[in-house]
Symmetry: C3
Subunit: 427 residues, 3 copies
């Protein structure tokens, strides 16, 4: 019984994603079945800050034949075999010359490495080191039939879910990785399935923007258009990546370090009762590099599982379907929804009775029988909210100090609102 996520995974897996090209276009088309995606084509050559949108890359075929005519390496079988952004090349060559354009990982002899050469024109193949070492002296026929079209476009997708306010929450993932699983089909898949949960929400306080971009250049382009708007409107954001295996969660903080994104994510993780890893911001990694560049310094963190650079399958053919877990991806969707629930319900309240406690008993909020046990789970929560709601603490802060679950505090706040004991602070 395949999960829905798995079905989409299987369809998206073989596509040749990169910074640009038909693989990306096809990926977004398939994801459009799940999400109301607006797809944009950005012309190659477009300037964005210090960068330029590269030419569009498409591959028709790419292989190496030995002198007997057998295909010993074939892009059809695994699109990692072709160096990303490889230029066209046709010719016969001896082993030594060919090896200069072949890449392998001697430390992991059985895997095909993932390599790209986006901004320097090269051709090349990636193979396992064990295959490379077995190749004999021969005359090899090389055929790479690819396009680098200066008049092409870079394809990006964006979904917008309007909320009651124009404050935004950004979920950003990337679509430039071919045939790898944790990094990176898990990001677009989890993001798409978060969307499916978001549209079920009865009312949304925040406006959600979900971005499906090629890494780095896509985020830079997006910020060149929307950066100033985000500085004004972004409440919180996450880069969704490396979220598909069953390792414990890793949360990488935004550059700010205590943004709403950080506080909500860390509270959800803390309340999960599960072990997790917390990392301070560092300026290598994924698109948080751009969102958290010093000129923008946006409240964008990243909740991951096995993170880039920290697992040996990273950027190789071993980052495949076996490495990931569809149950884990469902859990990933859930915890992102919990984080969002916390943010949606996080308010600063003001106690309308700040001098001594209001009498909860006469409002049926307190047990009438004074006893040695608290008979209501909400009394503590109400006490905490009343005491700390002096206009400076939000519900996340109260949850952290009281160690009371956020959901209990939410319900307690509703009770207090209903009885007119607190009001939402106008911010």
């Amino acid at each position: 019984m395949k999960s829905e996520i798995e079905k989409y995974f299987d369809r998206l897996w073989p596509l040749n994603r990169s910074l640009t090209g038909n693989g990306n276009r096809e990926t977004l088309k398939i994801l459009s079945e799940l999400i109301d995606l607006k797809i944009n084509e950005i012309p190659s050559g477009t300037k964005c800050f210090d960068w330029t949108i590269p030419p569009e890359w498409n591959v028709r075929e790419a292989w190496i034949k030995d002198s007997k005519g057998s295909k010993i390496v074939d892009f059809q079988k695994n699109n990692l075999h072709l160096l990303g952004y490889s230029i066209s090349y046709k010719g016969n060559t001896d082993l030594e010359t060919m090896k200069k354009n072949m890449y392998s990982l001697p430390d992991q002899p059985e895997v095909i490495p993932y390599l790209t050469s986006y901004y320097k024109r090269r051709w090349g193949f990636c193979v396992s080191d064990s295959q490379l070492n077995k190749l004999k002296e021969d005359t090899y026929e090389i055929n790479i039939d690819s396009d680098l079209n200066e008049n092409g476009t870079m394809t990006i997708g964006e979904a917008v879910l309007k909320g009651k306010t124009d404050e935004e929450i950004l979920l950003s993932t990337y679509i430039c990785h071919p045939s790898m699983a944790n990094n990176e089909l898990s990001g677009p898949l989890v993001t798409a399935f978060i969307y499916k949960e978001l549209i079920k929400m009865k009312h949304r306080r925040y406006t959600y923007k979900l971005l499906f971009l090629p890494e780095t250049i896509g985020a830079i382009y997006y910020l060149s258009i929307n950066g100033e708007h985000l500085k004004e409107k972004l409440a919180a954001g996450y880069v969704i990546t490396c979220i598909g295996d069953d390792a414990r969660f890793t949360y990488k903080k935004s550059r700010m370090g205590d943004s709403l994104a950080d506080r909500a994510a860390l509270l959800a993780l803390e309340q999960s009762g599960e072990d997790y890893i917390q990392e301070d911001f560092f300026p290598t990694g994924s698109d948080e590099r751009q969102y958290c560049s010093p000129g923008f310094n946006l409240p964008v963190g990243s909740l991951m599982r096995s993170r880039y650079g920290k697992y040996k399958e990273y950027h190789t053919s071993d980052d495949n379907k076996e490495f990931i877990s569809f149950e884990a991806m469902e859990e990933s969707v859930k915890i992102y929804i919990e984080i969002i629930t916390i943010m949606e319900n996080n308010f600063i309240y003001e106690n309308k009775f700040p001098f001594c406690e209001p009498q909860l008993g006469k409002r049926d909020l307190y047990p009438t029988l004074g006893s040695q046990k608290d008979t209501s789970g909400y009394v503590d929560a109400m006490m905490w909210i009343l005491n700390l709601s002096d206009g400076s603490n939000d519900l996340i802060e109260i949850a952290k100090r009281s160690k009371i679950n956020f959901n209990v505090l939410m319900k307690a706040a509703e009770n207090l609102l209903e009885k007119d004991l607190i009001r939402k602070k106008v911010q």
Copy 2:
């Protein structure tokens, strides 16, 4: 050889204390032998913030007889048997109906629980669970002869010891608990014996106010009259409760977290060399709930021993004379006096020789023979005071940083004052 505290304990123990009534009146009358108490009667029905002073409750008798006429439960034997604020009731009833108004603790089958119903009119008895389970089918005669007098009063007591300044230190305890020992005869007793020490002090810098109130409603009433005054004049305060057994001390911080009350109490505990527990403020507990409500946010903490809710005898008939220790109570008085001594002697000094060290040797404050050992216990202390007395650090802060005992620093400061090397900062 009974201690004086024990003699008062024995006289106060049998009285039926509650929010109001003759038990409280009698309690304050007995304590007046120790303290110059001003006793106030506040009419039932008086409004204070969101609350109203309840009717005055008095009990003449309360018992249950079985069909043979034997009293099986009798308020005379233990005033915990009657639900606090129980209304009058007379009647014959079968076992099942009677049980609906009987309260016990199945988890602690041998103890009588302490229960009240201050703000909802009920009648009821509290008994041990083992007694409850042994009751046979029978016709029981119930007789509760009590008053809830809307024209009564709530009785409160206050003692004031004037000091050199009108800055105040508040010691607040509560008198509404009947026949329990740690919580709560220990609080009024320790407070009364602190008073006996305070009047011995030759000069007092602070004005002391000692309050004997029913919990919650008493503090709310007091704040409704004196809250604004306290906001202006209160230097520090403590709720004195649960201070009678021989457990290690627990200090619960004020909501501010670093008030003078907190700093002095924690320094005294630290210097005691004994293990102790430190708790951040939480908004359940005793009258610090009112003093530290967000509108007042007063510098009021609470130094306890086994604190409410944390020991199994709490709010039962097992919180009795056996549970407490009169030696421990004397120690409790002592540590409160140490805290007060710290506050009385805590000043910000200003070094009159801030450029390099003043020459202590020529003022006989430094050994004339430079050696490898410090021959005077005060040299270090003087050095610390001179170095940190730049107008921003008080003596408590210097004690914390230097880890030198406060009493040594006090004496060193006196030496420096006498030699005109420092002056008290006018604040």
Copy 3:
């Protein structure tokens, strides 16, 4: 093969250093072979803040003979035998009377203690406790031939190395300790050899001032003249003392606690990979007592090895050549130079491309082949600098957060400067 440091140690060792006198004059003369020292003579009686420069002390001879004419104690053999600043005395005396003026350490019976009586006129001898106890009843001849000249001077030395700016770095050591090794010939020796490294530096940003002073009175005098100037111009300073044995380093922070002196020293120690001790400022110790007095509060810390008061040989004849290590002293010079290198190269940079990352690849700062391993050691460092250089973080802060070695960051900053991606912030 003697090290150069050892040769100077051997020449300086026998001189009788004190607050004043020919031993100090000779010491500075010998050090002048290494350093361009400006030597100043300050008249006895000169006022400086609360202090007065004492008379100049010189000793011709000092000994005790027994009745057979044997010298049983002789200043010639070890100048610790004579109490520092001992007045002249000649006479015959019995054992009991003589013992009143003899000092020993019963806890360490084999060592001669180091004692002084700078500001109270006394005569006395210091001997080992075991020698003292062996003395028999006899008539002893005592002869102390010393001068306390009110018309003398106190000798101090200062070297100045001009830098590009008039911001200063102060290295302060003391020359008042006779015939001891860790405390204190190590300080003047290490300071002199730091000077030898400083003059090799091609360009110096800071102006360096190296002070050779008698402890306490020397620093107080210097501050009385230069204190206001230092408040304005001093970037960082260190008291160089107790730096000669092979114990791990101890860094004592300046009173400020996070001054440039503290941050640079602690970073160098952290990067050394060696274990070290970190101590908060305390107002006893050496001349940091004066530099960090509250009126000056200068950024002056102290990097030591076995520090004063913490090793049993301290202030005794056992703090001798055997106790120290000339290799360790060379290492001490090195780490001070590393600290200085950090300060010289510590700047706040401003990222000229704060919106998203600048494209490093097109500037040959980034590998053109996107791979799973970082192929350049500087990419991470450049990323950190670009991300944190928002005008508020200096390179020390970036080193602390990134845990990248300062030298790597320096080189990365040079690359970025050269490619015009960052600029130095004008401060």
